[in-house]
Symmetry: C2
Subunit: 120 residues, 2 copies
Amino acid sequence: MVERNDPAPDPLTVLLKATADPTRRAILTLLAQEGPARVTDIAGRFDTSLNAVSKHIKVLENAGLVTRRTDWREHLIEVRLETLGEIDRWFAGLRSIWAQRLDALDDALALERDDDDDHD
Amino acid sequence: MVERNDPAPDPLTVLLKATADPTRRAILTLLAQEGPARVTDIAGRFDTSLNAVSKHIKVLENAGLVTRRTDWREHLIEVRLETLGEIDRWFAGLRSIWAQRLDALDDALALERDDDDDHD
DNA sequence: GTTTCGTTCAACCATACGGGTGAATAACCT
DNA sequence: AGGTTATTCACCCGTATGGTTGAACGAAAC
């Protein structure tokens, strides 16, 4: 009874995991530099097998970082950098939470200082 | 000939892998919200074991996302959001590469148009 | 001096991941 | 028809990862 029905990894995790691999990042860079390319052409630029690259591209596709335009057997892979915005947004949220806390701390300190000034 | 002498994982990969786990992101959020905390306190907020949280924190520490101030047995863990800037910078680089390519494309098209105008 | 506390270390387990090889698919080109 | 081309699919393999439990450490408190 394994009961692990977790086929719902949040998109942010999928995205970050996709970018966490050096080869995949290199693929993204290549696509950004040279525009849409076929799977085989991409694979030709790396020392890994075509098969491995195909799998990497599927991961990137699943994360929304690339799209595929299939002109029959030629699959044109295109980068979609907008997707990275999701990560940016998470960072921004985290930083805002952090800033809020610091502001609250500042307020608390200011209040203490006022108190001090008051009855000193 | 696997030639695996040294993993030498680049810092960006370490960083992205560290943020790619939901529990670790939750830990970062918690620290941003409530400030530095002890390992045990952090673990108390999750349904995983203290041990697992300890390991997560080590991963975050190794990535430079948190620092540890050990006051003997109490390890105060503090978030360091500046480290995320490294990821931001990689994104920016990628986007700039992308933009450059589009500019080059634009130029090429403009040149073609000029050519057309010229000898028409 | 024994207990308590906060944390890590050491095994161990199951699953995920990255990579490799070989077969399958499906249209185009002789 | 037979071969080439572009890509995925189906396995197999080694290692990494996240989790668990239990022991160890070392000072502080009793």
